[in-house]
């Protein structure tokens, strides 16, 4: 570059007051390679920009330096002007002589000298700039949604309704997630299934949603707009196309005593089963752990003890085909909505670094249950058909004690965060209970009530004021079984008295945790997660549903404890992000990405280790005969975000970050200090 134009802005008085802009222009004009230098009152104004265009045309300039404000302010403006003049926009640079000079100095000669320095350094850097073209990436306008709970359902429906295809992958046999297990929902007490099941059916019937239930994401490759997803379709043991969901197989299965996951262990199910009557898809699965025939096949037996379901099926759908199938899907965006699990507070959580609560006897005392189990007891579709009966003897509990913050806000047991939903659902539980057992006693041990949300505080107050829930501020020290009651040993910190209550049933509001296996999924997706396994959002305020990997979004309780309204809101937000991405067939990105010099790359892959985005790939270099010469690093321009950590790490400096190359930085240092 030998014909650079330097344009020095006065910014009215903003620069001109302490920096002699004319002197900066004069000094810059003397620099080798500078063919034109001038100053002007307002470079960013239309006449100012016209000045650049005119000079480029008249002086045949091949590069532009605007000495003015911060590039954060007007770099786009001046690059557009430069492009308008027919010069590659990346051959325009800004020298920041306002924020970094005129505004912070009083001494005019010193400020002017500094402005000259800054401008000179940028001129020298610009000499090493290369013309760059924006990166264009084709976008596959289909989305993958992982997780079929309420967040996944909402995201899938919003994207599909927006006109784009969706692949919805659910790990379990049915979509619906935790919400399908709930009895009523706060703060309106509307029936959970009544609002959820129509949405589930909508998913099933939507022409643009491909539902892959009982499936898991195996691998994800590629980058924004271009993901290749491998999905394992787990064997249900039957031919889904033949099954019409009549339920005969289920009725015929002799294994009837298996604890039902859907009923949180309080109900029973068969070995071939549909998890609940409204399941979507309404197709059974065979539980390999409990089906005698399945176990026989795995063992290689020739004769089988059981074949009842095969006989019962009128359509010959039950095949006992045990092979998982692998399918691949090409998508342009991914929404992660894998939800949560409850902290099971028995003792054996060493592997997770959680200690469990020996003092609460969960798992030993049958009448100590968790919140989800209470939901099933209270639910009309539950094992007791909505009659409140405690597990030990089926008696209707006359006194129920609810403990909040079990597992949550308890660093000693491994979790310091607040699970957010417990205050609300415990209040709901007290109401449900009091509505069913009018003279029953509902006591809540709490630490703080966190009822921030529309109608939430009012809801809790209603539980206390109208429905007679007794709230005691204090944590419970220990639960003991004494005869047929559970003795609750607590303390009322407000009255300063020990409180001992003999309860018929104790309900623990256990913490929300991320799903097991989320770390492995996150690694497949190259998204980051916190130490509790919750997926990290790209920015807690400004990019709440994006992840640090472009094209991958997050919704619902896999990001942090969330209630239903929050999860749905996030899901819709993620869907709108996806639809925004899909609004063009191509994606345009700034070209400031890394580039590997394959001739000198030694293939040590230090760059690959430091890349937070998985943008560095292995590339085989072969000679003409096809023999492998070496393996080198190669940057995927679609994935690279341009941080340049790879370049600083590369010992042989075989990577260059466009726009901030070593020769550019070297020139800038030299110009400052040389």
């Amino acid at each position: 570059m030998s014909r650079i134009g330097v344009f020095v802005c006065h910014c009215g008085e903003n620069i001109g007051r302490t920096v002699d802009a004319a002197e900066v222009a004069r000094a810059s004009g003397n620099l080798p390679g500078v063919a034109h230098a001038t100053d002007y009152k307002y470079m960013c104004s239309d006449p100012g920009q016209a000045l650049i265009k005119q000079a480029v045309a008249e002086k045949k300039l091949d590069g532009v330096v605007v000495a003015a404000c911060s590039p954060h302010m007007h770099e786009k403006t001046f690059r557009r002007a430069t492009a308008g003049a027919g010069v590659n926009p990346f051959l325009c640079e800004m020298a920041n002589i306002r924020e970094h000079c005129s505004w912070i100095h009083e001494n005019r000669p010193a400020a002017t000298a500094k402005a000259i320095d800054i401008t000179r350094s940028i001129v020298e850097k610009l000499k090493r700039n290369a013309p760059l073209e924006p990166i264009r990436i084709p976008v596959e306008r289909r989305a993958l949604v992982i997780g079929g709970g309420i967040a996944g359902i909402q995201a899938a429906l919003d994207i599909a309704d927006g006109g784009r295809e969706v692949v919805l992958v659910e790990k379990g046999p049915s979509i619906g997630g935790h919400m399908s297990q709930l009895s009523e929902t706060f703060p309106t007490l509307d029936c959970s299934q009544c609002i959820l099941t129509p949405r589930m059916v909508e998913v099933y019937q939507h022409p643009r949603i491909k539902l892959l239930a009982y499936s898991e994401v195996e691998a994800v490759e590629g980058y924004i707009g271009n993901f290749n997803v491998t999905i394992r379709r787990k064997a249900r043991g039957l031919d889904e196309t033949k099954c019409n969901g009549c339920g005969q197989c289920q009725a015929s299965c002799p294994q009837k005593k298996i604890p039902s996951e859907f009923d949180a262990g309080l109900g029973k199910r068969t070995a071939i089963y549909v998890p609940f009557p409204q399941a979507v898809p309404n197709i059974p699965v065979i539980d390999s752990g409990h089906c005698a025939r399945w176990k026989g096949i795995v063992k290689g037996l020739k004769k089988f003890a059981c074949g009842k379901c095969i006989e019962a099926c009128g359509r010959g759908a039950i095949t006992f085909d045990l092979e998982d199938k692998i399918v691949t899907e090409k998508v342009g965006a991914v929404v992660v909505a894998t939800g949560f699990q409850l902290y099971e507070i028995g003792r054996d959580h060493e592997a997770d670094g959680l200690k469990g609560y020996g003092e609460y006897g969960y798992g030993r005392i049958p009448d100590v249950i968790d919140g989800l189990q209470f939901e099933r007891l209270a639910s009309a579709s539950g094992p007791t058909a909505g009659k409140l009966q405690r597990p030990s003897d089926g008696k209707e509990p006359r006194t129920i004690v609810f403990l909040q913050c079990v597992g949550s806000r308890d660093p000693a047991k491994g979790i310091e965060y607040c699970s957010k939903i417990c205050c609300m659902y415990v209040a709901k539980h007290t109401m449900l209970y009091r509505h069913k057992v009018h003279d029953g006693r509902a006591v809540v041990f709490y630490m703080d009530i966190r009822a921030g949300g529309k109608g939430y505080e009012e809801f809790v107050r209603r539980a206390i004021e109208e429905d007679g829930a007794e709230y005691v501020r204090g944590r419970v020290s220990r639960l003991e079984r004494d005869g047929d009651v559970v003795r609750v040993q607590g303390f009322d910190t407000l009255s300063g008295e020990p409180v001992t209550i003999d309860a018929d049933l104790v309900v623990l509001a256990t913490a929300m945790r991320s799903q097991p296996g989320i770390e492995a999924l996150a690694q497949k997706l190259s998204v980051s997660y916190d130490r509790h396994g919750f997926i990290n959002e790209a920015h807690p305020k400004l990019r709440p549903v994006e992840t640090n990997t472009a094209g991958i979004y997050v919704a619902g309780a896999c990001q942090a404890p969330r209630d239903i309204p929050d999860s749905v809101a996030m899901a819709s937000a993620a869907a709108s992000k996806v639809l925004g991405l899909f609004s063009n067939a191509e994606l345009e990105r700034e070209p400031n990405v890394a580039r590997v010099d394959e001739a000198t790359c030694a293939g040590c892959f230090h760059c690959r280790r430091v890349c937070a985005y998985g943008a560095v790939e292995r590339k085989e270099i072969r000679d003409k005969k096809g023999n492998l010469v070496k393996v080198v690093a190669s940057v995927n321009r679609g994935v690279c975000q341009g941080c340049g950590t790879c370049q600083a790490t590369c010992p042989g400096k075989s990577v260059e970050l466009e726009g901030f190359t070593d020769p550019q930085i070297y020139a800038a240092i030299n110009a400052f200090q040389g």
Partner: protein, 154 residues
């Protein structure tokens, strides 16, 4: 280059150090912008080079700056967990930690370099970094010991 301010140039006989800053685009550069917008006066001795991320800041830059005449260097970027690129500053932190102790061992005073985290909202902190570094380097004097190594060994 006649216009260049050099460290031998003096104001009223005092030594004016030349300080090279390498800062990340998202936090410190923006923080320095904020210092400007807030009109916080500071010493005019620092020259900023903008990089996308502290992860991009090579220790070679620092050595080169000293070699070409800088008396001090400022390296600054986003606070931990605030990196625009997720982890660039964490990688940089390890790199600088080793570099600092290494040059210390080689007899180069690591106080010639200020490492700092300055967020986009810490315009005031940036001005303090600039002023404190300038004052410190002024007290330490020109870094001719290193620059001058290119001549004959005494």
């Amino acid at each position: 280059m006649s216009e260049a301010t050099t460290s031998t140039e003096t104001t009223a006989g005092t030594f004016e150090p030349r300080i090279q800053a390498f800062v990340c685009n998202w936090c410190t550069y923006t923080g320095a912008d904020l210092a400007g917008t807030s009109r916080i006066p500071m010493a005019p001795n620092v020259r900023i080079i903008r990089l996308p991320c502290t992860g991009r800041i090579d220790t070679l830059f620092i050595l080169k700056a000293f070699e070409r005449g800088a008396d001090g260097v400022i390296v600054s970027g986003c606070h931990p967990n605030d990196c625009h690129y997720a982890a660039g500053n964490f990688h940089a932190r390890r790199r600088f930690a080793v570099f600092r102790e290494l040059i210390d061992f080689l007899g180069l005073d690591p106080d010639r370099i200020t490492f700092s985290w300055v967020s986009a909202s810490e315009g005031k902190k940036w001005s303090e970094i600039v002023n404190d570094t300038t004052e410190r380097i002024r007290r330490m004097g020109p870094f001719s010991a290193y620059r001058g190594l290119a001549g004959r060994t005494p």
